[in-house]
Subunit: 208 residues, 2 copies
């Protein structure tokens, strides 16, 4: 049985959302499982890489504003344009990790709901209320989950997850690792697919 | 007759080189011409975007060190790892633009030679001697070309080319524009191919 594919995401990334709509089906076609792993772009991009947020970067921000809707269209999924001012994924990510310890399948459904809430419904995911509402819709124990999210253990879990990501060289979202091969970006799903099909980079006829 | 595809490049970019090995054949399959347009990553990345060079960026630099050789392998082309300390594309880009005014086809062959010199042979492209040697191999008038590269008009041509790129939102290399659609990265040739085939972003079954 081959190792699962690692899928590193941050709920605040629209490209992460787009990746989330695809990765499990892609992996499944290759008989592979997917482990979802949250990290924080604010830590990797700003603290570790020393860069400013993408949407504050001249030229690139214009490109991304054009690119996000066309990729969503091409993938056949809706994409909202929520006001991201003050939005962060801290509580949602801690909740995901707490849920994952108890029930990985439920945690994944929770993550899909959080992505959906922000990037399809355009609703905030920051407040604990929003996080608990999404968990409640799946029948999770919200009193327990609230304690987990606010506990030192809950915070430590996310810190460990971010450190794991950084230790594996993850810097942007979505980021996939399969058999040690890293893939950054939803626009590289073709390369991941190629790797899962062939398991090497020998020259082959490609589109382009 | 549809508009030519614009291919923006900087000789110092290995991904630009990889793009250069593909773009004309891809365009040709779609009955399209390609206009090669030099710009300077030092201006777009550092001055306009306010970022540091990619290879000075933690995490991303490690990813790129792994990624460049695997992409070259996949595309079936050689890729050297030259010492880039002090390497710049100023004179080579000015020479390209001077040659282009006289003979666009020859200028493209010159550009391919410059890419080859740096990214296949691993030899410097910075000194005027290197630039003139590559032009001489194509039978160009090197006395005239030397004057052009060092003249105010030669410098102004490159400045205009960089400004054209910035005006069109170009920030990284390679960068392609087809019918107004921008594509950044050799890893997005599949999207350019898709656009040239379909001319829209309607949902379609995709790899991934």
């Amino acid at each position: 049985m081959p190792e699962p594919i690692e899928f590193f995401f941050d709920f605040i990334s629209p490209y992460g959302y787009l990746g989330a709509t695809r990765i499990d089906a892609l992996a499944h076609r290759h008989g592979r499982a997917v482990e979802w792993k949250p990290f924080l772009l604010g830590v990797t991009v700003m603290k570790v890489m020393g860069l400013k947020p993408l949407m504050d970067t001249p030229l690139k921000s214009d490109y991304l504003r054009h690119d996000k809707p066309r990729l969503a269209k091409l993938l056949g999924v809706p994409l909202a344009a929520p006001d991201m001012n003050g939005v962060n994924s801290l509580r949602a990510s801690r909740a995901f990790l707490a849920l994952r310890e108890r029930d990985p399948a439920l945690a994944k459904r929770f993550a899909q709901r959080v992505f959906q809430r922000l990037w399809v419904e355009g609703r905030d995911i920051t407040p604990i209320r929003a996080v608990l509402d999404e968990a409640a819709a799946l029948g999770a124990d919200t009193a327990w989950l609230k304690d987990e999210v606010e506990s030192p253990a809950g915070k430590a879990r996310l810190e460990a997850s971010v450190n794991e990501a950084i230790g594996k060289g993850v810097f942007g979202a979505p980021f996939f690792i399969a058999d040690g091969e890293p893939f950054w970006g939803v626009d590289r799903l073709w390369m991941l697919d190629h790797w899962l099909t062939h398991g090497n980079w020998e020259p082959r006829p490609l589109h382009g």
